[in-house]
Subunit: 284 residues, 2 copies
């Protein structure tokens, strides 16, 4: 599969975390592997959308004939980093019939009474589906670590449980793609400020956003630890620079395209006698 | 709200069924209220998409502050009529986060053991959501009537139960928009033939599609009866000519826009002190 116009290298290769990865050393405002500007990025996104859509349709079609494979995009980020934009502009370009989107909010009392994976398991994508987790089981090693809601032993248990869970998902046919949108505190400040000056965006703002912002460096530590503990060859983390929204969207689209292309999807063969059915149709 | 370029009258008004409506008297290849051609229709669809998207976002935003309203699009049609295209090209233009799509297949044994509405109720849209039923509880008065799986008394009971159910939905804040895509047998034949000559579409074809085609006039009778029994002022049926896919998409988009516009949606006011938060941000 050739790279889209403007890409000089595979963003999947450039952004996939490997042992030794350090969050504090990567730029949030870069556009790794892309030589173009914002308008080139928007153009490339539009050109590539039908490619992603076709791959998704092939995945969906396969499941109609006992195919068990699916894909799961896990999105984690600080507030305003652009998870919603990824959902709207990247996921939004594929057929909604093939998408299973789940936004994980603060857990309910019932969910809290169970192990942290209890509410996650029923939300994994069905065969053929393109699942998206907007926040996920990773909240249980991020906000929980930052606020000390889980102690060190419990965090270790969770990292292990997560890796086991994702290994199990892979074995059952689900390819897990984990994306952290990496935004800078300065860019977040600009976006929060913009929300506070646009009455059509007031509803997206909550005073608690500012409270969490106060824990920025603790969050970055928690992300770093999360990458170290849970970025595996089976289910790698991609850290996507997110100060430029157009780049983050393009990069996530490309990571999805590369991942799906690597699954060697094919249109299912006819499960009926084509000649016979054509003849029947003529008389119908 | 002004009509889009090319529209000479409101498709919602023209296509809404009223007492005396006769399915056999309406054209399947017409474009009621639209003076343009195919390319004008495609252009109008693209121009109107952001309007639908904004209305959906306002509906979603409202629910974040205890708003209870939602919308439910019910799609029914003969095979190949274009339900999938409506989902992909009309619903697909709004933010996936606000969409709750449910495709109803042949019921499972467990579902069959319950009353027909049992599997429907949990699938109704949550507050703020744009729900879509791809097939629905109406299968229970369509295919069931055609094949005699329900007798006359049972069908009467179901019509009544459906009207009660939809009245209840309306009272709880869900606006129900019911669309029947009206395709001709000739057009269906063309589309089935096309599927049998395109290996990327074999997976969409099933020999049973042809079997159901043999009951065409029985289906039309069942639809006619369904309109008579269940088209109510609260939850009207719209019969959308569907031989021209571009028109069907444009008309459904417009029906949705008109319906949402009629809900007088507003951006929620700030639920915090804007000045105070702006000041906090400056120090953050």
């Amino acid at each position: 599969m050739s790279l889209p116009l403007g890409f000089t290298a595979s963003p999947a290769d450039l952004l996939r975390t490997t042992p030794g990865f350090s969050l504090s050393e990567v730029a949030t405002n870069a556009a790794p592997g892309f030589s173009g500007k914002k308008h080139d990025g928007a153009a490339a996104l539009a050109v590539r959308a039908p490619i992603l859509a076709q791959l998704q349709e092939q995945l969906f079609a396969e499941s109609r004939f006992s195919g068990k494979r699916s894909i799961l995009l896990v999105l984690q980020a600080m507030d305003t980093a652009g998870k919603g934009g990824i959902v709207g502009h990247v996921v939004g370009s594929v057929d909604p019939q093939g998408v299973q989107l789940k936004a994980f909010k603060a857990p309910t009392d019932e969910e809290k009474a169970h192990d942290f994976l209890w509410r996650i398991r029923p939300a994994v994508p069905s065969p053929g589906m393109f699942g998206v987790f907007d926040r996920s089981h990773y909240e249980d090693v991020l906000i929980h670590r930052v606020h000390g809601w889980a102690d060190a032993d419990e965090l270790e248990r969770r990292y292990t449980a997560i890796n086991d869970f994702e290994t199990e998902l892979a074995a059952a046919g689900t390819t897990v793609v984990k994306v952290m949108l990496n935004v800078s505190p300065d860019e977040q400040l600009e976006r929060l400020t913009a929300r506070l000056h646009d009455p059509t965006k007031y509803w997206k703002y909550s005073p608690t956003d500012l409270d969490e912002r106060g824990y920025w460096s603790d969050y970055m530590d928690a992300y770093q630890k999360m990458f170290e503990k849970t970025s595996t060859p089976t289910a790698p983390w991609y850290v996507v620079p997110a100060d430029k929204k157009w780049y983050a969207r393009l990069a996530v689209q490309e990571i999805l395209i590369e991942t799906l292309a690597g699954m060697n999807l094919q249109w299912p063969a006819a499960h009926f006698d084509v000649g016979h059915e054509r003849a029947r149709l003529k008389d119908a």
